[in-house]
């Protein structure tokens, strides 16, 4: 029964000159789930994202998207298929307005992206949809602001809206709350919850209170391999997880703080 999984990996391996960063990872992401990928710094979480979206080529193993083997596909093609990622460091186009950022994503599915002879005004038909997307992340009043001038939290919100403009079936979020204050974190939790309606989300997240609020299932990665998998209760009760991730004996909440501090 593999079609209940949107995304699967089979024995995924990535070696960097003899160093094994991702070691025989089997992931199964169920449709409609918000699935967390957690683990200490250097565990290989970002590398897994890079493999899934082909920013890195796997050394071995297979990636299946809706049952189809997408291992040989290129990054751009994977994005067009419906698996779109965000980056650990906020990825925006700094010298474009917020509205223009969103339009770049909307334009990706238009036939006109090679039309060098057409006027820029021809892109205005995308404005309405772009405004709706900005509105959905609370950025309406910043539509015409240069992105470089936006505060960090707003940049991340813009990044999320840009990703959603692609109407992805599965969303890969790499630490969407990294470096944010509590207020911004709460906002992002709401945004992700909203974005997850009708789609699947795979997210890397250090903040365990966010994980406990949002995620249906959790995979713990340590030194490149899967340590354990389960729901929040099961995973947080696992002594091995405490050992590698939270530091022995600490509670989930404290663990979240330490992990976040370590990430700075």
């Amino acid at each position: 029964m593999s079609d209940q999984y949107v995304l699967e990996t089979r024995s995924l391996v990535k070696e960097f000159k003899g160093f094994v960063a991702v070691d025989d990872v089997n992931l199964q992401i169920q449709k409609g789930h918000i699935h967390a990928l957690i683990g200490p710094n250097g565990a290989g979480k970002t590398t897994v994202f890079n493999l899934l979206t082909k920013f890195l080529i796997p050394t071995r193993g297979q990636i299946l998207f809706k049952g189809e083997d997408i291992t040989p596909m290129k990054s751009a093609a994977i994005a067009r298929k419906g698996m779109v990622r965000s980056f650990q460091i906020s990825a925006v186009f700094p010298h474009m307005t917020a509205l223009e950022n969103i339009r770049v994503a909307l334009q990706s599915f238009e036939g006109s992206s090679f039309s060098f002879w057409k006027s820029g005004a021809s892109l205005n038909r995308l404005n309405k949809r772009a405004m709706e997307l900005l509105d959905s992340v609370g950025l309406t009043e910043f539509a015409n602001t240069m992105t470089v001038e936006l505060a960090y939290g707003r940049k991340r919100a813009l990044e999320l809206a840009t990703t959603l403009a692609m109407e992805p079936e599965i969303l890969l979020l790499d630490e969407p709350t990294q470096g944010m204050g509590t207020e911004d974190v709460d906002r992002v939790v709401e945004l992700v919850r909203k974005a997850a309606e009708g789609r699947t989300v795979l997210m890397v997240e250090h903040n365990l209170s966010v994980v406990s609020k949002l995620c249906d299932r959790i995979t713990v990665l340590a030194q490149g391999s899967v340590l354990t998998e389960g729901d929040y209760e099961a995973v947080s009760a696992d002594p091995r997880v405490r050992e590698v991730y939270m530091g022995t004996g600490s509670s989930g909440e404290r663990g979240a703080v330490t992990a976040e501090e370590a990430a700075q």
Partner: protein
């Protein structure tokens, strides 16, 4: 006010700003046009044509460097290829009209540009610059060795001929207005390209390439197209130049020339439309003025010093700094 009202309000503001921007562009274009139309009555047309040819070369280069983020260190190859092809054809086939020779030179440069692009586009940053330089050196040695280029002496006595078999281009004013029409057409084309839907994708690639990839863009294809357009226009500049001076020489193929176009673009303002035009005007003038006087052996060091000064202290170039100033002081 409801949320949808606010949304449509902002959209209206944005459209208004776009209109104002278009009007400003139109006005600047108008000023440029009038200046260039009147210029030959106060300056020597051949000198002006030299400026226009280099300005076109720099505008072409800037499409790739300033608007796509790719630093080519081999653009001399396209200038020279356009020049030699046009020069050779017009010298050896008297049946060809001038514009046919120019079109042929431009097309050959375009094909060469495609070759360069396919071999270099995957490289990033400094490696891209090095591959383009290496390829351009190959082209240079090809021209040194080939019998049809006249080697060190160059290709002399290229006939200017008649445009469409009608307009006598031996006349400097006729020649000037022909060069002007070609230059303006290319300038407007580049202006159109950078604001087109395609231009927006280039901008995105320049500002954050991994993000553009993750939004589904096959960025290599967009870069190859930009490279080919840039090489084509650089070839056209070389073709025009060989007709104006009735000469195609190894100077145009030398890596010095690839460096000079970088200098022109940087001094004038990389990633601006008028910057390369202004930069080319300045560099051609400086070279000419110094070449006349006692400092004639010092041209290269002085240009080098200007280069260093630009990179260190006013990176946005003249036009870029002016734009910053205007933005800061006029909101």
């Amino acid at each position: 006010m409801s949320q949808t009202d606010i949304q449509s309000d902002i959209q209206k503001t944005i459209l208004k700003q776009q209109k104002a921007e278009d009007r400003r562009k139109l006005m600047l274009n108008g000023i440029l046009l009038v200046l260039l139309l009147l210029a030959p009555f106060v300056m020597y047309p051949v000198f002006l044509m030299k400026i226009l040819c280099f300005a076109l070369f720099a505008v072409a280069f800037n499409l790739l460097f300033g608007f796509t983020g790719l630093l080519s260190f081999g653009h001399a190859a396209f200038l020279a290829t356009g020049g030699y092809t046009t020069g050779y054809l017009l010298s050896n086939f008297s049946g060809l009209t001038t514009e046919m020779g120019i079109i042929a030179g431009t097309l050959v440069a375009a094909v060469l540009g495609l070759g360069f692009a396919l071999l270099s586009i995957r490289r990033q940053g400094i490696y891209f610059a090095m591959v383009t330089l290496a390829l351009a050196q190959l082209v240079f040695f090809f021209f040194v060795q080939s019998p049809f280029t006249g080697g060190e002496d160059g290709l002399h006595g290229v006939p200017r001929g008649e445009l469409f078999g009608l307009i006598n281009l031996e006349d400097n004013l006729n020649m000037y207005y022909f060069v002007l029409v070609v230059f303006l057409a290319c300038y407007l084309l580049v202006q159109r390209i950078v604001s087109s839907p395609y231009g927006h994708v280039l901008k995105a690639i320049k500002q954050n390439e991994p993000r553009a990839v993750s939004l589904g863009y096959k960025v290599d294809r967009y870069k190859v197209l930009a490279f080919v357009i840039s090489a084509t226009l650089a070839g056209l500049a070389g073709s025009m130049k060989s007709v104006v001076f009735q000469l195609a020489s190894l100077n145009d193929a030398h890596w010095h020339m690839s460096g000079e176009v970088i200098l022109m673009t940087l001094v004038g303002g990389v990633g601006t439309l008028l910057g390369p035009v202004l930069g080319a005007t300045l560099v051609v003038n400086i070279e000419y003025q110094l070449g006349q006087g006692p400092l004639r052996d010092w041209v290269d060091p002085i240009l080098g010093a200007i280069f260093v000064l630009t990179v260190l202290s006013f990176r946005s170039g003249i036009v870029g700094e002016v734009q910053k100033f205007v933005r800061k002081n006029m909101g």
